[in-house]
């Protein structure tokens, strides 16, 4: 019996011993892909970036010392005396920016094309969990060099946690192993940062498992001419993903070699000084929207609650928009909603990076209002109308 033309011979000759390969063929080689566009390649880019992060992180950990008196010097040693240490650290620092850029685009793709909807709620939720995980990991990693920005960033966040009523202080004490940012806290940040990388890998596996159970969304289904033809993952999407990863790595490389000032703040080139806050303190761009939210709300606890609620909106999304239509391109009101939301998000990034001023604080408040209106008014209303009109027709 000759094997079917598109199946590798190995599968047939070796028989049952290699039957575990069937899962591999089913989920990678032969996985049927709907006609998705280039935005569906961001997941592969994220995997590539995560691989580089784990590799560079491991090599940085070899030379790092989680001790408040030695951490800064350890980073200087890596930069100046470990052969190629500067490059490995640049890969790691630029990796944070590249991951969050791809991550936010990946989530934006999910919003626009309705990837969060039934039956993909778990894909969406595991993805958001990964985003939260990356935020915590990035923050913990940012503390490790123990420069001025590391120290004062950590100070701001720990005070935010402290402001939670009743449990804040004991919780902080529990997390930091003491009332202050000292050696014990730094060691914990290091362990947290190191461990969460591996936790992320496990959740990514879960994320992909959830996705493959139902398959990717088909962006053409809501269009007037839906295309239902599927193609095997290999070679069509392995090649496409590879091209996307190449472009992604080129941008990554440009960031490392030509724009190093974008990936490390000058203030973090000074060792932590608990007696002097830097004149301008600003977060990394990927956490800037949430920093802007903290600043936009005059109450300490209120800011924290709003930032938390803004993320909660994303988690609740599958139940806020229950229309059967997915692609925002063919949903005029939702299209407007997402355009407003993306604008608000970008505004908050800029607002978080700018020094505080009345102008930016008010702009942040408008952006926050848009953020919540999109999720709580526009989407439920559009969804209600679409379901209603559909019901009338049938």
């Amino acid at each position: 019996m000759s094997p079917p033309p598109h199946k590798p011979d190995l599968e047939h000759q070796s028989g049952q011993r290699l039957s575990f390969l069937y899962s591999f063929y089913k989920h990678f080689s032969h996985y049927p892909m709907p006609p998705v566009n280039w935005f569906w390649c961001l997941g592969a880019c994220l995997l590539a970036a995560l691989g580089l992060m784990m590799l560079s992180g491991l090599f940085l950990a070899i030379n790092y010392v989680p001790d408040t008196h030695q951490a800064f010097q350890a980073i200087v040693t890596i930069e100046r005396h470990v052969p190629s240490g500067w490059l490995i650290r640049a890969i790691h620092m630029a990796g944070a920016t590249m991951i969050f850029a791809a991550l936010y685009l990946h989530i934006g793709r999910g919003l626009w094309y309705g990837s969060y909807k039934a039956p993909r709620e778990f894909v969406w939720l595991t993805g958001l969990l990964l985003m939260a995980l990356f935020m915590v990991t990035a923050f913990a990693g940012y503390v490790l060099p123990w420069g001025q920005m590391s120290y004062w960033g950590a100070t701001v966040i720990t005070h935010a946690i402290e402001s939670i009523p009743f449990i804040g202080k004991p919780l902080l004490n529990f997390l930091l192993g003491g009332p202050e940012l000292g050696d014990i806290a730094l060691r914990r940040f290091f362990i947290l940062h190191f461990t969460l990388g591996f936790v992320a890998v496990a959740i990514i596996a879960l994320h992909i498992l959830c996705l493959h159970a139902v398959g990717p969304t088909n962006p053409t289904l809501d269009s007037p001419q839906p295309k239902r033809v599927t193609r095997p993952f290999h070679p069509f999407y392995t090649i496409k993903d590879n091209i996307a990863v190449c472009v992604f790595l080129i941008i990554y490389t440009i960031l490392i070699f030509y724009l190093p000032h974008l990936i490390e703040k000058q203030a973090n080139l000074l060792p932590a000084n608990s007696l002097k806050t830097p004149d301008t303190i600003s977060p990394e761009w990927y956490l800037a929207p949430f920093f802007a939210m903290l600043r936009a709300v005059p109450s300490q606890l209120g800011g924290l609650a709003i930032a938390f609620a803004s993320l909660l909106m994303l988690f609740a999304l599958p139940w806020l928009d229950r229309s059967p239509k997915h692609n925002a391109t063919y949903r005029p009101l939702v299209r407007l909603g997402w355009i407003l939301f993306f604008t608000a998000f970008l505004t908050l990034i800029v607002a978080g990076l700018e020094p505080p001023s009345t102008w930016w604080i008010w702009l942040s408040r408008v952006a926050l209002l848009i953020w919540f209106s999109v999720f709580l008014v526009i989407l439920p209303y559009a969804s209600f109308r679409e379901r209603h009109s559909k019901g009338e027709k049938s």
């Binding site: 590799l55 070899i62 470990v82 052969p83 490995i88 599927t230």
Partner: protein, 218 residues
Amino acid sequence: MSTEPPFDKDNGTTPPSRRKILTASTIALGGAGACALAAPFLESLEGPGADLRKAESDDKAAIVEVDLSDLKRGDHKQIKWKNWPVFIQYRTKDMIAALKEPALKALLRDPDSKIRQQPKDAVNDYRSINPDYAILIGICTHLGCIPNFRDVKGYAHKGGFFCPCHGSQFDNAGRVLKDMPAPYNLPVPPARFIKPTILRLGESAAEPHFSMNDIQQI
């Protein structure tokens, strides 16, 4: 599935097909890229200060002057030179006499220091530039432990070194006994006396260009 021809077939063109060439060149280029990326990571494993260590071993900064006027006969001191422990012992007359005894030399693996473990001016029965002093790098040539001061069996008070890790015994001149795990005599660093009791380590009078990299094994 679509009606397109199978993607892994040559579609009837003459081999090697365009697809095969493209696949092979992609794999080759990707492999080269992965190798290039591996280089900085492997390089970094040399650890911090690899550049400093190299500079240090290159220049003359590794010259140390040691004052031996505080040693009485039989005393020894241990100093650090180029991160190695250097044993300096002011020998007793007994020790010096024992080093020439044929009975002791018969026990040794390389009694005449034929293997290059020392600068030329230390190729003698004392393995030293001055019979009064033993100047040795205290690193066992077996697996790098640091030996203790202990006499050779049957030669009480004649000096010697014993490695606690795997039991290699050396005589007072750092010569290893036969049938010991250590293959070579203890290394002798380049040194010269600039005053009767001032030793300059790192400089050999007989061999100005002597380097510790030249010897058989540390």
